[in-house]
Symmetry: C2
Subunit: 358 residues, 2 copies
Amino acid sequence: MSKITEFQKVLKKKKIDFFIACNIDYVGIDYDMLYFSGFEGIGALVVPKNKKCFLIVPRDGIVKARKSGIKFYVLPKKKKLFEFIAENVSKNKIKHKRMGINKEGVNLLVKDYLKKCFKKSKLIDLRKELYKTREIKTKTEIKIIREGCRISDNILKKCFKEFKRFKREAEVMAFLEYESKKRGCGLAFPTIVASGNSSSEVHHTTEDVKLKKGFCIIDFGIRYKNYCTDTTRTIYLGKPTKKEIIMYDLLLKVQKNAIKNVKKNGKCSKLNENVKKGLDKYSKNFIHGLGHGIGVKIHELPNLTERSKDIFQEGQVFTIEPGVYFNNFGIRIEDDVLVSKNNVEVLTKIGKSLLIID
Amino acid sequence: MSKITEFQKVLKKKKIDFFIACNIDYVGIDYDMLYFSGFEGIGALVVPKNKKCFLIVPRDGIVKARKSGIKFYVLPKKKKLFEFIAENVSKNKIKHKRMGINKEGVNLLVKDYLKKCFKKSKLIDLRKELYKTREIKTKTEIKIIREGCRISDNILKKCFKEFKRFKREAEVMAFLEYESKKRGCGLAFPTIVASGNSSSEVHHTTEDVKLKKGFCIIDFGIRYKNYCTDTTRTIYLGKPTKKEIIMYDLLLKVQKNAIKNVKKNGKCSKLNENVKKGLDKYSKNFIHGLGHGIGVKIHELPNLTERSKDIFQEGQVFTIEPGVYFNNFGIRIEDDVLVSKNNVEVLTKIGKSLLIID
């Protein structure tokens, strides 16, 4: 069953006439539109509960709309987007008493437009249902993410092989992103290269500064066929002390154990708890969640935080990324894993023994 | 007068207790927060009408918050973001009867949070006032954009110099972005490299395909110190026909004339009209607006479309980018210009005679 069909069942169950996703911002992305149609850009997607879905796109979106394989209408010149959406909803004999939306994807301006064009409609938030739909990946999605991870592995391998020539953090980032773009891939999020003191920041913004000695966190993900990957490796520039090696190896052991301990029907929060136990006295230095689902968006379900109520299920793809952060350094190791029928498959396969570049 | 002070005058005039901008999405940007504070990431900015503004940031935003130079409060663990905002608004003795927001920056989820934490507040949309504030650039902003354009010029020059070695569209894009990232700059928007037939698309998505003979549109912009640049050059791969050269030269003449005809206090729509006249029988092939303001966001005021009501004013920085699109090719030439006291300054200075790479 396709994800659209699956979602239409939700619409029927909740007696929602149609779901609408739209984007009015040239540099914005509506992830629901992207997920169901593969279309990125200004426009709207209408998913009726019991008819075929369609896109509304401006003239300069025609080529992309054609690639989506979904029926589309082209916004005529001088016609307003939301008026034209309403016209086509009506032409397709779709009721609009109850309209589904994603509260996170609709800003107050879009809401005004919707309210103006669908005067008597009730807007119903389907955020949770959408995230649940996106949480479990289809075979096709898994194939894409697996291939994305393979490409990302190759890029990281090449980067580490040539690492000696890099002098600055921005250079490493530029290299990784160049190799991604050259292969026709996008980026899942801004690449993090955090050396020296900066490795103690969880979300360091890479700048044009010298690579400093010590641990260097590299957090990198590509966007392949609209799906994200997300890998972190921490390498060492210079000569690590014994203490540093012990710290790295402890984190690595904990990360490997966490992967082993993913059990179908197990609680995500429990895994987070186990990791804290494994880190023992360093558990207070682990200051972020253990992981998150990945998909068309970099943060999806499940949530692997201590407060998570999610359960491990077949078809989920998520990160496992414990980290420890001190005053002057940090270490994080992150892989993408898939829960399959009988086991847990690690999709990012690049080695994770401490790489020392001296 | 700083832009914050200028905006606080608007707040006073409209009797708004404070303006709030917030971002709850790891990969999202709130442009108002970025504009007033330089802070990018999850968090919130509060601008009271008659007190100093402050940021609320999670623990992993501390380093960036410190760089902003603005007072900030760190969200304690286990505390909810919007509750903590409300607490600090109250601690700072700021009223919240009338709260200013930007309707485009607030999604329905954030609105729910705001409504929950500021129960009796009225939300007032300041979108237009914010865009008006951002429209006229300060001397500091102009200095940054001028430097951004200089850097972008250098990157494009390097790209054209080495163009012969590129075989694929994605390679050109990867090169431009690599050179940007290496210099510590970000991207203003996804780079467009559109060769052959693809040049007939206004917003082509660059893919990993061979560079085709014919016109090749390169639309590229960096983000330097949070400010965007935006340049388009159309080059020719192979040997152009006489007709093609004539078409290019006509567009170039029209573009140069448009720049010359920017007059302080003149109507933006009028300039668009003039360009249509200059293109004569090809005016129907000019299918997008003549230009747009640039700033922290790639599309700002003024609007240079035929329906625009904007007026040219000192301190505006915008693009002038006429284009013509046919069935199998397109040409666009775009510069960034500044309206200064006595004239119009072109900030992007890279040459625009037809570059032929054969």
